[in-house]
Symmetry: C2
Subunit: 198 residues, 2 copies
């Protein structure tokens, strides 16, 4: 049901992403999405079992469009831990604003819908893998700052990169994404990279 590819299905996904983006993920109902797609509310359920199902499909759809794997390639190919960390933050920091609408909707659904919680947590776990990889690379270079174990450093890096932190700085405080990325890089570097006094 939510896997076969039809023209209508794509149109629903497309309008879902658009309308969610427009409204910052808040207050978008199934009826709104249907109207935006030019079909009846019930017809949406012919393609997606539930709102959460649609939301999850929308994130997958977005990831495909944004070509996440290609974006991550530079970070994966980095020649040092420091570089890997910086490139990962670049990547993630610029990714957040593009998925924010859908992501926020999923985060909100989280609290009333177990399936939404699992879906969102999955994505955050994937982000955590990236953090772990960066910390591991730092460790391999013997550049992980003293006082950190790898798991704890991963925890700390992951937590500071979470969407609400971005939300606070950009949406609440009005920072640009550029400034956010710059700050997160500085923060991560001063925190996790061993300081050599050469």
């Amino acid at each position: 049901m939510s896997s076969e590819i039809t023209e209508t299905r794509s149109r629903i996904l497309e309008s879902t992403v658009r309308i969610l983006e427009e409204h910052g993920g808040k207050g978008v109902r199934m009826g709104d999405i249907a109207k935006e797609s030019g079909i009846s509310r019930q017809a949406v359920y012919l393609h997606f079992a539930s709102r959460t199902d649609l939301l999850v499909a929308a994130t997958r759809y977005l990831d495909e469009i944004l070509d996440v794997d290609k974006r991550l390639a530079p970070s994966r190919a980095a020649s040092s831990g420091i570089e890997r960390l910086a490139l990962y933050i670049d990547c993630w920091g610029n990714y957040i604003p593009e998925i924010y609408g859908v992501g926020k909707a999923l985060m909100l659904a989280r609290d009333s819908d177990e399936a939404a919680a699992v879906a969102w947590d999955d994505r955050m776990a994937a982000m955590r893998d990236g953090c772990r990889a960066a910390i591991d690379a730092l460790h391999a270079d013997e550049m992980l700052a003293p006082g950190w174990t790898r798991p704890k450093a991963t925890d700390a890096l992951w937590a500071m990169l979470l969407v609400p932190h971005w939300e606070a700085l950009t949406i609440e405080c009005g920072w640009s994404t550029k400034r956010y990325v710059r700050w997160m890089k500085t923060l991560a570097e001063q925190t996790f990279v061993r300081q050599t006094n050469s």
Copy 2:
């Protein structure tokens, strides 16, 4: 209505705080609160106009009990910016877990109820004032790290102290509050305090 003090009203507030605490602020309905208070669901509305109204009253009630002002006194009386910053983080970091249940419920209501959003934002603005005061104190000592303006430093400190960051580290990653506080102090110090190489 939601201001006069009666025995039933206090009982409602008390059970609200308790049950919210128990459930981490999630999935608590008016009926649950009523049952916990030993009255009918409708009777709750004799004391509070709405769920949000009750939630807001519950946070005020909690603040009274926790005597927030007294707790903040040490930070306010600090003799240096560095001390003020550290004591403020101590204070706030230990406060979060105590208000988490009610706070979380308010955060969740935020997205569907404008009044809840305003109430929560108010509290976060108050927290921001504390951040600003600490940064100002640092600045007055000429100990604010180079590269920061006071507003930007306030933004950054405020964002890192927000509840979701605490939530990620303690609830998701399993850190103790003690470890969280220690880490936030280190983070804030290395970030905002001018490093003297003496």
